[in-house]
Amino acid sequence: MRDIAVISFAQSPQVRRQPDLNEVEMLMPVVRDALAGAGITKDRVDFVCSASSDYLAGQAFSFVMTLDAVGPWPPISESHVDMDGAWAAYEAWVKMQMGHVDVALVYAYGKSSPGDIRRVLTRQLDPYYLGPLWPDSVSLAALQARCGLDAGSFTKADMAEVAARSRRDAKANAWAQLSGDDDPAELLGRDELVSPLHVHDCPPVTDGAAAVVLAAGDVARELCARPAWIRGIDHRIEPHALGLRDLTRSVSTEQAATAAGVADGPVQLAELHAPFTHQELILRSALGLGDDVVVNPSGGALCANAIMTAGLIRLGEAASRVTAGDADRAVAHATSGPCLQQNLVCVLEGE
């Protein structure tokens, strides 16, 4: 295996609605910042991999236009995934393992504001049994949360605590959409959005973009004082039919964590892509994280959840903290699909 590291990370301000900028205009400064963070220009990039979903903007092949942000002329080596950007990073990592690529640029963007994101996300569901009922993302997460509450895995107070901690931590994150000091008890006193979920249990609707630069071996060492080395990365998926899954656990995360080697050393910090409060609690348990692990110091997806992007931001946030020396060993996680259907786990280490 080649040594491959995250050497740079950039993101746009994560906001509720960004009508002034089209996707290219939103993305371009992010790509510029990510390359500048690595001290390189686009000529140094061997491979570009991007992530987005046409359904968000209602525009077929919208990612083709967004390529303008990286300057694809003369033609570049490029790929795109209709998944979160963390999976684009995985594809880039695989390509780098093949040995032909030393520097890869990975970017992701998502504007949820043009449509009704809860309805848009129903279109990812099985079109026979589920699609015609339009079960929205919040309702499905609520079904999952109740399974955990009924099983005694966690309480609504635990969930409110996750929300309050996330918003408090996000105060130190200039890019976050939501932040503040909230009293969990006060949050619990508010109306439910889709019972058992309150608004504070759900992610905000976000427009945003992010990018990371990956580099291999000595190139990474040349470009970055302290690269965040990817020591393990894996992703697993569960059946799409909710009735075939155990919604109180995340078996796919457990498997990905084992394959990525999460338990092979002490974890100091984890950035978990948990758009809903109860999902952080399920993920902590699936990853075997102890109470001493700092979880989501960025505020996490509860404070900014640009679709297709928030998972890549977890990778970038965890890597930045390794690079900054705040952690020697960190875990980044990304999810996709309803109720944590698919999960990616990455272990990052400093040298």
Binding site: D20, D136, V194, A241
Partner: protein, 163 residues
Amino acid sequence: MSDVEVMIAPNVIEYPFRRTTGPVIGAFFTALREGFVVGVRGSDGRVIVPPAEYDPVTAEELTEIVEVGDAGEVVSWAWVAESLDGHPFDRPFAFALVKLDGADTPMLHAVDVAAAEQMRTGMRVAARWRPARPGADDEVAEGVRYREGHIADIECFVPEGDR
């Protein structure tokens, strides 16, 4: 470059699709049209409802279609206080995972009760069926949605005593 007022326009996307079911999913919808529910027997003997074409563990092709009940137990539920376009109701209702009698896996559908207080995990619910399509010589009522082989042939579930 001076600032400009950004132009925003409505953009409506419609997908007028009709989808081929294949025989297994087709059997489920055929049964709904006829007013009952079927699942499929998995490799380990459990009954999967709605039916899956392949076993989730062994990936074996599943072929034994099994009739199950049209009433069962709520495994989980979510109270939708404000419904969205496309939802089964334009008033408050519950989405629920319902494990039908004779089934080993729950299916998702709506439960029609007036208030969240009437919902609880483990409660018994039964299907409220849409009417069968009238025969060729019978009168067709205006504005009635008849069963046609569709998940909405079950309009929703209701507390078992209320059916």
